[in-house]
Amino acid sequence: MDATTAMYVSQAIHGIAYGMILFLIASGLNIIFGMMGVLNLAHASFFMLSGYFCYQVLKLTGNFWLALLIAPLVTAIFGIVVERVFLRRMHAFGHLGELMLTVGISLVILAGVKFFWGTESLPIPVPEALQGLIKIFGLEYPIYRLFVIGLSLVVLLLMVLVLYKTRLGMIVRAAVSDRDMVNALGINIPLVFMVVFGIGCWLAGIAGVAIAPILTVFPGLADQVGMDAFIVVVTGGIGSLGGAFIVAIIFGFLSSFGIQFVSQLAPVLMVGFMALVLIIRPHGLFGVEE
């Protein structure tokens, strides 16, 4: 295989890895949106926060696997507290108010992160077992990227299992397709909300830890990756998991190949793609009218 092909393949791997990360964040956003009807803008901050938790655990124990276990859990608990304290009490001006509230929360988290960890970007070493390259069919791949893809697939599989094989999953699916119906069924909504919110944040947390060794952790992380995830959600159709998956992968490619070919203008590609989709389908690729 020649050098160009190798380059394409390795860019594609990068694209898929980044796309899967975006999907993890976006799917959390979407299931929360499905339940509560609010796009949680603080979600990206939870994602970033998990990166910082990961840094902290590594600093204390030096064990990446422990960080991968603990950081998302702590993030989930943090998210649940935020939901309890703020989001649940909020009813003024409907969804626009909730949206603005979550912006306020994300700003406070940003300030907190800067206060505790400073504004420097903090390096997270790739765990030893995953360092280096691996050779498949005569091509070399960075092991860690493959691990990210694998991890995302496992989480994805878990999510599918929960969604399709458990009672909770059934309720969530029902809620995502028709919010009023769940209210009508008389299910213990606050509890379900809490669990779903926690799971959503946990997904963001996994993504946060997974991406930390690639991008390092810094206060702009939420803006940078979170923005891409929000664009994914809007383009795929707010609340649509399938839409988010397809668009996340497309964006992964746009991002990795974009940087390769039009590095300065790579961000234009995604926003341009979003604009195009929304002109043709105002509710996103797979979205339905609110």
């Binding site: 306020g104 800067k114 923005m227 809007v234 707010i238 929304l278």
Partner: protein
């Protein structure tokens, strides 16, 4: 009749105060007031969308910023361009951007509208940083020439390094903008605008074209945001991504509008003033603008969703009620 006289004398007093302001207060407060006026107009233009049309934008700074850059670039690169055409070019850039975005913007509402603007805002910010040879990257465009204000050779006075002159200049321009935006809400079209916020379907069924109407509002809003942005650039003699295009600039408008109350035309003006005072006070304790903005947003939305003007309205109502009670 009596009402009218009170009203006119009240306005006269306000006008006199504004004229005398630079004589009464020091340079620091003169500059503070210019900042206040700029952001008041910017927030008013934002509330044209949120309060009067029900559209929440997380990226209103794109118009503020592009106009600032437009004016700065014009002054830097066009030899001998007078002041007003330079401002005009900046505002034109904002208007053109709005027109280009219209096809997307009129189709989406609610959450998607907000998110799309967040994305556009972020994109513009990143581009401003990256297209270094045009925008000067992180440094922005600074120290560009600022011509004297002159109108058909009738008069001419310098702005550069002259805060008091700049104060009067900004007062006139932004005062006119405020009046125009207020007038806008009072026209027949202003009624249609409120109708769109209240019930878009009925507006459609009454025979008005919703997308076209929204476009007009959107472009008008961009126009006024542009004027504010252009004046802001001139004021600092610097236009930079962080000063004019940062998402925090957009959030400033949101926060000010929330504090003031989205339901009233003058709300954003009150809100900008209060926000600025709060910032002045808190800046002594913390440099963290995000923290202050974030906490204010949370508190206002959770505990005072109608904002300052809503609070005033409640007070007035209570006062009227108690007066009515006393009368029996």
């Amino acid at each position: 009749m009596k009402d009218k006289i009170t009203k006119i004398s009240l306005w006269l007093m306000v006008a006199m105060f504004l004229l005398a302001y630079p004589k009464l207060f020091g340079m620091y407060y003169v500059n503070l007031f210019v900042t206040f006026m700029v952001f008041a107009v910017f927030s008013l233009s934002f509330n044209m969308l949120l309060g009067f049309t029900g559209l929440l934008s997380f990226g209103h700074a794109i118009f503020f910023g592009i106009s600032g850059y437009g004016t700065a670039l014009a002054l830097r690169h066009i030899e001998g361009i007078p002041l007003f055409p330079a401002i005009g070019l900046g505002v034109l850039a904002a208007v053109i951007l709005a027109v280009v975005l219209c096809p997307v913007v009129v189709r989406v509402t609610g959450t998607a509208f907000a998110m799309v603007h967040l994305a556009f805002g972020q994109l513009m910010y990143v581009l401003a940083l990256k297209l270094r040879n045009i925008t000067g990257g992180e440094d922005g465009i600074g120290n560009f020439p600022i011509p004297n204000v002159s109108l058909f050779g009738l008069f001419s006075f310098p702005l550069k390094n002259n805060p008091v002159n700049f104060y009067y200049f900004a007062l006139v321009i932004l005062g006119i903008c405020t009046w125009l935006m207020w007038f806008f809400t009072k026209t027949p079209f202003g009624q249609i605008q409120v109708g769109i916020r209240d019930n878009t379907k009925r507006i459609d069924y009454l025979g008005f074209k919703v997308p076209e109407s929204k476009s007009v509002i959107y472009v008008t809003s961009a126009f006024f945001a542009g004027v504010a942005g252009s004046i802001y650039g001139l004021f600092h003699n610097l236009v930079s991504a962080d000063g004019s295009l940062n998402v925090l600039v957009s959030f400033t408008a949101i926060t000010a509008t929330l504090i003031g109350g989205i339901g009233s035309f003058f709300g954003p003006i009150w809100g900008t003033a209060i926000f600025q005072i709060l910032e002045e006070l808190t800046i002594r304790f913390t440099e963290q603008v995000e923290l202050v903005t974030g906490i204010i947003m949370i508190i206002v939305i959770m505990y005072a969703p109608r904002g300052f003007t809503g609070f005033l309205a409640t007070l007035k109502l209570k006062w009227q009620l108690s007066r009515a009670k006393r009368r029996g």
